[in-house]
């Protein structure tokens, strides 16, 4: 299906919503108000772990303008099992008996005036018995501090069916992979290397914070939410209410960013419960600050070991990865598994052992964030790979190419790689960086270096997308799908696909905002799955409509291949401009579940996402300050549906990862988050951009993808962090193994190397 000439697909159409956004006319849920609604403000736990002894709401309730003060016990009266979560039903709508992380919602004030609600929320008094807390993922593995007394698997997803209920452990999921015989490889090795790398806790920072407005009346609930996954939210709210899904309606609009923060249930269950209790519409709108307490990116520790033979071939790799999932599992177990099986890197290694653990701690929950655990892994395996190359005296790119995974070879999970252009992506970076030409290493106190990083990701599988395409009697067309456009340009891509299949100009195509009463099921907008999965569903639905149009043309006696305009066809059939032709389709790719003991699967993913970054940096040796002179990002995204959107996706992903690499860090001291605001949690600004940045993709075709395409939303994140660390090593000979890479960390490493370590304070 790939290749051939296309008229709409493959062209850089401007984004359908672009004009409305830049002129301030686009609709966002955060700006929405409902008649007679109440504003909710959350009272949050100031401690990380403790038993709730009592909650005194009297002063808050007495404030004029306060309608309700609601606690977890109040929620329990209307929803007997008020726990939610995609992997475990472990997260209470409001805390019950215990709090497990600072910032956890404990009670809510409802008022007509949000300022009154906020003031009253501060007047709620909670008495806690504080318990010891655990914050570090490695400690959590053996800690006496148990975050959850009992684990309750949700059993929702096909790929997480094996989750078991366990007692007295912080391990939400352990994933193990055995490929070949790693122990034997290490025994046979000429060289053995071992390193440990760590990453910090960060946050998605969507500029439209999480928001939900719920209106529960009689036996029907409508929730307006800035969510990436309306179908899942419907499923979960219906489950909590014990209602059919047809009685729960989730509506979205354009999202002001998502990045994985808005997948699964975030504030929707709370808004629904509050409306159920108050019998009025309720708006739960988080502030930027509150998002830090809601969902984050996993901190991680990764111990990686390699066995290398005398020729520089990596013959064995052992990976132990600990994922800090925070107090509630969210989708962390899937991160542990899906990302876990690529932990040995994009290399053809015969003997691999992987142990990957999702751990509960007393931090805010961690979930999906652009890359779904992959950037944490690439940080480790590409730093490690670079160190090996340098120690063996082999050029870092030559060493990678010697070991690289190629099509037709099995990845460690046991799946034969197809349409995975690892080497071409690496070559693409090397070429743009003029890797084989001499490089100016700088002089004096300004030294320069360069480095690369190559990473990859399997798509989440198996997941389903459904779509409906309706052709109107005037020849225009409406696409109904639950893919959420959160800035990634999916509406434009889906319109292009429908336009291509139906030969209807894109200007006449409308893509409906997801509304679960209107748009059919989609697993969620996450993991760069939409172009592939929903792209297929829309392609098939449009094909279904096209076939029906052909049949109708035949029925009304139009000659085959007639180019009569569509309105004429409808008039011939219905006698006037009337009727609609509706096509529909479900799409689910093939999948083989992994064996629990070995982790092996013959078909673990419908496609591989591949991204590499090359960085040129300059280090000020007197301060450790880093300048990114050049950042080159090259990905394998198959054949693009919309080239310009793909390029901006790659650059956006790389810049986001640049922030996680250099500046972003949730600092926790004495069990408190010290910087929950953009004043002190620093995302990159314009002056932090690399002096030069190039983003591109290689010529490639994903044979089983819609028009040769595959996902492109995350690949730009993969290689950024290790490319920078490797470039620093190249420049000044020091190795940073913990993110973020601050100027002080570089300076301290330089002083260490000079034998003059800087004192702690």
């Amino acid at each position: 299906m790939a290749g051939g000439s296309t008229t709409t697909v493959g062209h850089s159409y401007p984004r359908m919503e672009g004009r409305a956004k830049v002129t301030g006319r686009a609709e966002y849920i955060y700006n929405m108000r409902l008649p007679s609604m109440l504003h909710a403000k959350v009272h949050r736990s100031p401690i990380s772990h403790g038993r709730i002894l009592s909650i005194d709401t009297s002063e808050a309730s007495a404030m004029p303008g306060v309608h309700h003060v609601i606690t977890g016990e109040d929620v329990k009266k209307v929803l007997p099992e008020p726990y939610y979560g995609p992997a475990f039903h472990d997260q209470p709508i409001l805390a019950l008996d215990k709090v497990r992380h600072f910032g956890e919602p404990v009670a809510v004030v409802l008022a007509t005036d949000p300022h009154i609600a906020e003031t009253a929320a501060q007047r709620i008094v909670v008495d806690y018995e504080e318990l010891p807390a655990v914050f570090d993922e490695v400690e959590a593995l053996t800690s006496d501090v148990i975050v959850h007394e009992e684990l309750k698997p949700a059993g929702t997803f096909a790929d997480l069916k094996h989750l078991a209920g366990k007692r007295d452990t912080n391990i939400a999921l352990d994933y193990h992979l055995q490929h070949g015989d790693a122990d034997k490889a290490f025994a046979d090795a000429e060289h053995v290397f071992e390193h440990t790398f760590r990453t910090q806790q960060t946050m998605h920072t969507p500029f439209e914070p999480m928001v939900a407005l719920a209106d529960v009346r009689n036996d029907h609930a409508t929730v307006y939410s800035s969510t990436q996954g309306p179908s899942f939210v419907r499923f979960e709210l219906a489950r909590l209410l014990g209602w059919p899904e047809s009685n729960v309606r989730i509506k979205t609009a354009h999202l002001g960013g998502g990045f994985g923060a808005k997948v699964y249930v975030k504030v929707e269950a709370l808004a629904m419960a509050l409306s159920l209790i108050a019998h009025r519409p309720v708006r739960v709108a988080l502030t930027m600050e509150e998002q830090f307490y809601t969902i984050t990116k996993h901190p991680s520790t990764f111990r990686i070991q390699s066995a290398v033979d005398k020729d520089g071939k990596v013959i064995g790799r052992k990976c132990e990865v600990w994922w800090n999932g925070g107090a509630y599992a969210d989708i962390g177990p899937r991160v542990t598994q899906k990302s876990g099986f690529t932990a040995a890197g994009p290399y053809d290694i015969d003997n691999v052992a992987i142990d990957s653990y999702a751990l509960y701690t007393n931090r805010p929950p961690a979930g999906a964030l652009r890359g779904f655990g992959i950037p944490q892994l690439v940080w480790a395996y590409e730093s490690h790979t670079d160190i090996i190359a340098r120690e063996l005296g082999i050029d870092p790119i030559a060493f990678r190419k010697q070991n690289i995974l190629r099509n037709g070879r099995p990845q460690a999970v046991g799946t034969i790689v197809k349409d995975g252009e690892f080497e071409a992506v690496l070559d693409g970076v090397a070429e743009r960086m003029n890797w084989n030409r001499p490089f100016d290493k700088g002089s004096g106190t300004k030294l320069r270096g360069r480095g690369v990083g190559l990473g990859f990701k399997a798509s989440i599988s198996p997941t389903t997308s459904s779509a409906i395409v309706s052709v109107n009697a005037d020849g225009s067309c409406i696409v109904y799908c639950s893919t959420v456009d959160m800035g990634q340009g999916s509406d434009t891509a889906m319109a292009q696909i429908a336009s291509e299949v139906l030969d209807i100009p894109i200007e006449k195509i409308r893509v409906v905002n997801p509304d679960t009463d209107v748009t059919p099921y989609d697993m969620s907008t996450l993991g760069s799955r939409s172009t592939f999965h929903m792209g297929h569903a829309v392609r098939l639905a449009a094909g279904d409509a096209r076939d029906k149009l052909h049949a109708m043309a035949e029925e009304v006696g139009m000659p085959e291949g007639s180019n009569a305009p569509l309105p004429e066809l409808f008039i011939r059939k219905f006698g006037m401009r009337a009727g609609a032709i509706v096509g529909s389709a479900n799409y689910i790719p093939e999948f083989s579940p992994p064996n629990y003991d070995t982790g092996q699967s013959t078909n673990a993913t419908p496609f591989w996402m591949i991204g590499a970054t090359g960085a040129e940096v300059e280090v000020d040796t007197e301060t450790g300050q880093l300048t990114i002179l050049r950042l080159v990002n090259v990905c394998d995204i198959g054949t693009p549906i919309n080239p310009i959107v793909v390029e901006t996706q790659i650059s956006g992903a790389a810049v986001m990862q640049l922030g996680f690499t250099l500046t972003e860090n949730m600092v926790i001291e004495n069990g408190q988050l010290t910087n929950p605001s953009l004043a002190d949690y620093k995302i990159p600004g314009f002056f932090d951009m690399p002096d030069t940045m190039e983003n591109g993709y290689i010529d490639a075709v994903q044979e089983n993808g819609p028009f040769g395409a595959k996902g492109a939303g995350e690949s730009g994140t993969f290689g950024v962090s290790p490319a920078i660390a490797n470039a620093i090593d190249d420049a000044v000979g020091v190795r940073i193994s913990e993110m973020p890479i601050t100027a002080e960390a570089v300076f301290r490493a330089l002083r260490e190397k000079q034998g003059k370590p800087l004192e702690e304070n």
């Binding site: 906020e118 301060t623 300050q625 500046t663 600092v667 600004g685 002080e744 300076f747 800087l758 304070n761």
Partner: protein, 291 residues
């Protein structure tokens, strides 16, 4: 953020009259960039804000008097000061420092008076103005007084201003042949508050330093002069050893603490490096008049 009353006096005198030294719930607001952050986080919950935006326009003007002194109205937005040719002529270091002060959105609304009266040590202009020998004209219920900028800062978010006093104007004396520079270092994003700001102003006699004024900001509790550095420079040849000595003196004199922007040990090294670099930069400016 809690609701509050907003008063909008049309004259400076009226604004001063609305302030009440005994009521901490009443505070002035100029650009609001700092106050609004404090209100958002709940650190500060005013009953009434006295907006200074409506006061006489002369408090938003920049001019040079016959003596060559630069007068900057306290309500002058930082962006206007950055664009001011008068200021750039009188003391080019002001414009250069402003270009990297926070971001243009903040500079468009933040005012010089607010920038100083806030008393946050992590701001850029206090060390610059101290090095330039600037003074502030202060208006209060009991009349006017003049205070050297170096005497304005008393502690973290504490100034010599009484609660019912306002800064009306800042005066930068004519710089003659002195040359000044400002170096800042941010350790997180580029537009972060600085971890360190160093301002150096030198009078050069040929290849020798005549007199020096050196001020530090951000790394210390308050912006302040570093007198041991000034002593290490005065009368010395403009040579590598002098710059080195100035850097070492700065690192030894400045009292620094660890915070989110860096450890104290790291900041001491930054002070050493940037003091040296600042002096070198002035030397490399050549002898072509005031810069």
């Amino acid at each position: 953020m809690s609701p509050f009353e907003l008063s909008e006096p049309q004259t400076l005198q009226d604004a001063v009259a609305m302030l009440d030294a005994s009521d901490t719930g009443i505070r002035p607001i100029a650009g609001g960039t700092a106050v609004m952050l404090m209100m958002k986080t709940g650190i500060f919950q005013p009953d009434r804000l006295i907006s200074l935006r409506g006061i006489e326009s002369r408090y938003s003007e920049v001019s040079v008097d016959d003596a060559g002194d630069l007068h900057i109205g306290a309500m002058t937005p930082l962006r206007r000061l950055e664009k001011s040719e008068e200021a750039a002529q009188a003391a080019p270091v002001i414009r250069r420092a402003l270009r990297r002060l926070s971001n243009v959105r903040v500079r468009n609304v933040a005012t010089l008076g607010g920038h100083l009266a806030h008393g946050d040590p992590h701001l850029d202009l206090p060390p610059v103005l101290i090095a330039l020998g600037a003074r502030a004209l202060i208006v209060g219920a009991s009349g006017e007084r003049v205070i050297e900028i170096e005497d304005l800062f008393r502690g973290y978010l504490e100034t010599a201003l009484a609660p019912d006093e306002l800064i009306a104007e800042v005066v930068v004396p004519a710089q003659g042949t002195r040359r000044a520079t400002y170096m800042k270092h941010t350790t997180r994003s580029a537009d972060d508050w600085p971890a360190l700001g160093i301002a150096v102003s030198l009078e050069l006699n040929g290849d020798e330093v005549g007199s020096a004024r050196v001020a530090i900001g951000a790394a210390t509790d308050t912006p302040r002069r570093l007198k041991s550095v000034e002593a290490a420079l005065a009368g010395k040849a403009l040579a590598d050893e002098t710059m080195q000595a100035a850097g070492d003196a700065a690192a030894a004199e400045a009292e620094v603490h660890s915070d989110a922007r860096g450890s104290a040990a790291y900041k001491r090294e930054l002070i050493r490096v940037f003091t040296r670099r600042a002096v070198r930069q002035i030397m490399e400016m050549g002898t072509g008049g005031a810069v």
